[in-house]
Symmetry: C2
Subunit: 138 residues, 2 copies
Amino acid sequence: MNGPPTDDEAISAANRAFYDAFEAGDLGAMEQVWERSPRAVCTHPGWGTLRSWEAIRPSFELLFKRDDTLQFIVTSEEISLEGGVAWVTCDENLWSREFAGTAAALNVFVRDELTGSWRMVAHHASAVHSMQDEDGDR
Amino acid sequence: MNGPPTDDEAISAANRAFYDAFEAGDLGAMEQVWERSPRAVCTHPGWGTLRSWEAIRPSFELLFKRDDTLQFIVTSEEISLEGGVAWVTCDENLWSREFAGTAAALNVFVRDELTGSWRMVAHHASAVHSMQDEDGDR
C-alpha cells in the first residue's frame, strides 16, 4: 500500500493492536491501546462494567498473570465511523489450554486530535452461547 | 427544568426510551429508538452480533412475542459524548416471571443532524455472572 492509511485501516489496526496486546499479555502495549481516562469503560465476559482506566488496568494485570495464555482469531470485523468516533464489532474466537469458544465484542475508539491515533474508550465482550451450553446450563 | 435539554439529558432520554420500548414490548417505539440502517449492531446476552436494522428488528419482534414480560430497573448510567456520538454504560436489573438478574450494557447513540435527536446505533448487553453461577455452571 502507498500513502497514509485510510481511517478504516487505522481503526482496524487499533482494534488489532488491542487483541495483539491481549494475546501477548503485554500491559505496556495495552496501555498504548486505551485512552487512559475516567470515561474509558470495559466489560469482560460475565463481569460487571469497569469504569475508568484506573479500574480497567488492574483487570488486565490480573488476566495477564494467569498461566493460561489466550489466543485470538478475530473474524467478522465491521467498522463504523462518525466524526472522530468509531465503533467496531467483531467475533473473538478464543483458544486456550482450558477452553475454546467465541465471544462477541463491541469496541469504541476515539481519534486523538493531537496525534491522529485511535484510542479505545470502550470494550464490551460476551460469550456467544453454543447450543451445547443451552442444553447443559440452567 | 427550563430551556432545551442538555446533551446529557437528551442522551439519557434516548437510553430510557430504549428500555421503555423493551419493557412495553412496543416494536413501533423500538423503531423510533434505533437508526434503522445497515451499520446498526445489536448483541443480546449470549447471542452473536446482529448487524443491520434488517437483522435487529426481527430479534425484537421475536422477544416481544414471548409471554414473559421483562421489567428493567436501569442503574449506574454513565454517559460519554464526543462530537455527535455518545456511548452509554448502564446496568440492566431484570425481572420477569422466569428469572431475575443483572446485565451490563454498552449503548452507542448518534445525533441525527436533521432532527437533533439521538438514535441508537449499537447495543451490547451481557449477563453479569453471580458467584452462584460460578459455582453452579461448568
